[in-house]
Structures are given as structure tokens and as C-alpha cells.
């Protein structure tokens, strides 16, 4: 067990416990572009952390670091108390068995049926007989409201349904930790509420921890116990706000307010280089 470092600015839900996820000073560059620039946060058991931010702010990149698909250029990431930045693939697999991941596109295997997709992690990581697998598939599909779709191929169902199947697959092994990339995009309002309710139930009643990347503000405030906002432009790759839903709602930062309210123009300009747009446009032709 590692002693948790003293926290100074992070509002924590329950400080006695070790954090499930601890990210410190993560930096990632793709070529010249710095996508993550010193991101630090912690997530505790039973929390739902929502990561918000405009397009291209590095939300998905951050998530890819947490699941071990990308390695940071600098900084440390600890999951379940283990530093994952220097784990080998097979050691990382041990960690991966303990969490589920919902990809933005669903990422279902097109060659398998819905049922086989949900069964895949169960069959790969546990030795239970087919009858029980069958039962587990039914239960997981029931959770996301898709009973009776076991035998269809992913190509035969809608985008929103694929996403729910992917959620069922991510939950197949009853993970301690769930990562979701845009879990509600492409879902109708009712299904969004169903998926949000499911996340809430799993975290509050069963102590699962969730990290959710989303653009959907309603759903962010509904499920999030803590929210962080990643900046764009000059604040690229930095956390510009962090707090409980109420704190974020009343946050003084105008950029954050613009994002929450969904306004077209504001501190995040409509055009990134509004001022010199004319200059650039005409400058090149007139010299």
C-alpha cells in the first residue's frame, strides 16, 4: 500500500481511502503539438469523475493514457495503486481485467453477434460453462434495455444500440472501474437517462468508480460527483476548473460558463484568431 500524498487543492470525497486513479503531471506531445500539459487529478472509490472540454482539448487522449493505450512523455499514472506508465503489456493486462472501457464508437467486433460480443470478456477471462455465460449475456443486455438482440450482428443495429451493447460488454465482468468515452452521444433523451441512471446505480449502490468523458452537460451534471474541465487554446492540455457539480455551475470563469451554456461566441472565440482574420485574409493578397 502506498501512502496517499497530501492533497492541497484537490477537493476529495473521502480522503482516508487510497485513490483508485492518481494522475500527476502528465504531459503528452504529438510532434510539435502539446496535447496534455501537466494534468493532475485523483479519483476515489465510488466517485464519478466527468471530464469535459472542447473538441481537441485532449479528453480522449487523456482517457487513452488511463487505459494504457498511450504512454505519457512525462508524469505518472497510478491505477489501483500501481504505476502503469512502466508496466509491461502482460502486467498491464492484469490491470485491464479489472476495468471496463466504453469506446466512443462502441468498437464492437463486427464479425461477432451482439451476444458473442458481450460474452467475449467473460469467455476470455473466466471459466464458466456456456449456460452461465448465456445467462450473463441476458442479464447484461437487460441492463441496457436490449434483451432479445443477442443474435443480431452489430451492422444490423442502430448507432445508439451499438453503444449500449458496448456498455454491456464493458460491464460484462462487473468491473471496479469504468471508463466511458461519450457514453450518451447518439442516444435519444430517454436512453441517455437510462444509461445515466445505470452509471449512477452502479457507482452509488455497488461502489463502482467511473470516469466519463462527455460533451453532454445535462448528463455531466446528473451523473458527475466531480467534474474537471480541460482547456483549449492558450490553456491547451491543462485543467482549468475542477469541483463538484454545484461549484462548476457557479464557477466564475467565463470560458467555463460559455461551455456549460453552449454559447457560440465568448471567451472561446468563434474563430480562433478573430482579430487578425482580416489581416490574414487580405494580407496575403495585397502584401
Amino acid at each position: 500500500m502506498t501512502p496517499s500524498p497530501p492533497s492541497t487543492h484537490l477537493p476529495t470525497v473521502n480522503t482516508e481511502a487510497d485513490p483508485i486513479i492518481e494522475v500527476r503531471g502528465v504531459v503528452k506531445k504529438f510532434g510539435q503539438r502539446t496535447v496534455l500539459n501537466g494534468v493532475s487529478f485523483r479519483v476515489f472509490r465510488g466517485e464519478t469523475l466527468v471530464i469535459m472540454g472542447g473538441s481537441g482539448c485532449g479528453k480522449s487522449t487523456l482517457l487513452r493514457h488511463l487505459i494504457g493505450s498511450l504512454k505519457p512523455d512525462a508524469g505518472s499514472i497510478r491505477i489501483f495503486g500501481e504505476e502503469i506508465t512502466d508496466l509491461s503489456e502482460s502486467e498491464m493486462d492484469r490491470i485491464r481485467r479489472r476495468f471496463g472501457m466504453l469506446f466512443q464508437s462502441g468498437a464492437l467486433l463486427q464479425s461477432l453477434t451482439v451476444g458473442e460480443n458481450v460474452a467475449l470478456p467473460i469467455q476470455e477471462h473466466s471459466r464458466v460453462d456456456d449456460a452461465i455465460v448465456e445467462l450473463m449475456i441476458k442479464m447484461k443486455l437487460e441492463l441496457v434495455g436490449l434483451t432479445g438482440f443477442e443474435d443480431l450482428k452489430p451492422a444490423e443495429i442502430s448507432g445508439g444500440m451499438k453503444k449500449r451493447v458496448a456498455l454491456a460488454r464493458a460491464l460484462a465482468l462487473d468491473p471496479e472501474l469504468l471508463f466511458s468515452d461519450e457514453p450518451t452521444s447518439g442516444l435519444d433523451p430517454v436512453m441517455t437517462a437510462v444509461v445515466d441512471k445505470l452509471t449512477q446505480d452502479l457507482t452509488r449502490k455497488l461502489g463502482m468508480t467511473a470516469v466519463v468523458v462527455t460533451h453532454d452537460m445535462t448528463s455531466a451534471f446528473r451523473i458527475g460527483t466531480r467534474l474537471i474541465m480541460l482547456g483549449t487554446g492558450p490553456h491547451q492540455g491543462k485543467i482549468i476548473a475542477e469541483g463538484a457539480p454545484e461549484e462548476i455551475k457557479n464557477h466564475p470563469d467565463p470560458m467555463l460558463q460559455q461551455f456549460i451554456k453552449g454559447e457560440a461566441d465568448g471567451p472561446i472565440p468563434l474563430r480562433l484568431s478573430k482579430g487578425d482574420y482580416l489581416k490574414r485574409l487580405l494580407g496575403e493578397t495585397t502584401g
Partner: protein, 245 residues
């Protein structure tokens, strides 16, 4: 190039050590691939081999009859099919139908995050996706080659019987007399090497895909072109080996 050899290493690793680590490749996946790579290629392989058998017999008859050696047509057909044309042509057919399909399929899976998703579920993509294809290809290409050899001989027989008025017994006797068991084995050895090259090149190209539909298209082209080059060069090297040893 380094990645290609790494892939070969990983395939062998999972093939031999997978069962020891209680993670053997799925038998049902191997059967699925056996059918896709082997059984479904039967009609195409048969048609190709039959045409080549016919052609060989006609070309051979044309030249040999001028020298009064028309009787040797079965020998010519048997030896060229078993040693050379059978393995090569069947491999070319398989590159066109299965090599390209493997690359396109894996490439599409790569692009749609399916391969990453497997990794995140702690399911090794090499073990889950590549090893079944590898095993199926290594089993099925030699099998298709033997099948192609037989059908090619039927093609040769068709010409000998109907155009050269040779009787069937004479054809069979001459063909068996000409073909040594060594010829069959050298052809099969070739087809095993071809199978290895085709499936590893196709998988490597598929796993390397970046950037959407265009990337999948490019990778498929590369896979087919490099597989063809690789088997033609390998064929020359192997023929030289069998010739000099």
C-alpha cells in the same frame, strides 16, 4: 521490417506458449478460418488448376509431337504441376482471395478501434485474430495445392484423352512414372513457405493501417503486391535449393 519480424515472433510465441499459459487459440475460430481460406477457395483453385493442366498439355503436345514424343505429354504435365505450377498458381489465387481479405478485414478492425478494444479487454489481438488465420493458412494452402495438382492432372488428361487419343491407363501410368515422390514433397514444401509469407505479410499490412478507408485500400494493395513478389522470389530460391541439392 522490424515490425514484420516481431509479428512473426509473436505469432510463434502465442502458437506454442498460448496453450501452456492456458490461453490456446480458439478452435472454433481456427475452423472458421479453415473454411474461409480453404473450403471456399476450392472452386477457384479447381478452375485455375484445370485451365493450367489443359494449357500445359496443349503447349507440350504442340512441341513434343513435332519431335515425335507426344507420348511424353503426361510426364511434362505431372512434373511441371507438382514441382512448380501447382504450388505457385494456387498461392497466387489465395493471395488474391484470402491475403487481400485478411488485410482488408484487419485494417478495417484497426480503423474502427476494434483491435484497440480487444487490447483494452486484455485479449491479445495476435492470439485472438492472427494465430487462427496463420494456422488455417498453413494447413489449407498445402491442402489446396494437392487438390490443385489433382485437378490439373485431370486437365492434362482431358487434352491427352480427347485430342491425342491416349488411353486413360497409359496417361496415368506415364504420369506416375514421371513424377517422383520428391517432386510432390518439394512442391508441398514450397506451398508451406508460401503460406507463411502470404499470411504474415497480409496480417502485418492489416495491423499497420492508419487513417480510414484510404489506408485500408493502400494496405490491401501493398499486401497483394508484396505477397506476390515474396512468393515469386521465394519460389526461385527454393527451386535453386532443390535443383542444386
Amino acid at each position: 521490417m522490424k515490425r514484420y519480424f516481431q509479428l512473426n515472433g509473436q505469432i510463434l510465441y502465442w502458437l506454442w506458449l498460448g496453450p501452456w499459459k492456458k490461453q490456446p487459440p480458439k478452435v472454433s475460430h481456427i475452423f472458421h478460418q479453415l473454411i474461409r481460406i480453404g473450403v471456399e477457395a476450392l472452386p477457384m483453385a479447381a478452375l485455375t488448376a484445370f485451365s493450367i493442366g489443359l494449357t500445359l498439355a496443349m503447349q507440350g503436345a504442340h512441341e513434343l509431337q513435332r519431335m515425335g514424343a507426344g507420348l511424353y505429354v503426361p510426364n511434362l504435365v505431372a512434373v511441371s504441376l507438382l514441382r512448380e505450377l501447382g504450388p505457385l498458381l494456387v498461392a497466387i489465387i489465395v493471395i488474391g482471395r484470402s491475403g487481400s481479405a485478411i488485410t482488408a478485414e484487419l485494417g478495417t478492425m484497426k480503423v474502427s478501434e476494434e483491435i484497440e478494444a480487444l487490447g483494452v479487454m486484455a485479449v491479445n489481438p495476435i492470439r485472438f485474430l492472427i494465430v487462427p488465420r496463420f494456422v488455417a493458412m498453413l494447413v489449407m494452402l498445402p491442402v489446396l495445392t494437392v487438390f490443385g495438382n489433382c485437378v490439373g492432372m485431370v486437365g492434362g488428361w482431358t487434352i491427352c484423352h480427347f485430342a491425342l487419343d491416349m488411353n486413360t491407363a497409359a496417361f496415368v501410368l506415364r504420369a506416375i512414372e514421371a513424377a517422383q515422390v520428391g517432386d510432390l514433397y518439394s512442391g508441398l514444401a514450397k506451398s508451406v513457405v508460401f503460406a507463411w509469407l502470404i499470411v504474415t505479410i497480409a496480417c502485418d499490412a492489416g495491423l499497420k493501417v492508419e487513417g480510414g478507408a484510404e489506408g485500408v485500400g493502400l494496405a490491401t494493395t501493398h499486401s497483394v503486391v508484396y505477397s506476390l513478389l515474396a512468393i515469386l522470389v521465394a519460389n526461385a530460391i527454393l527451386t535453386a535449393l532443390f535443383f542444386f541439392i
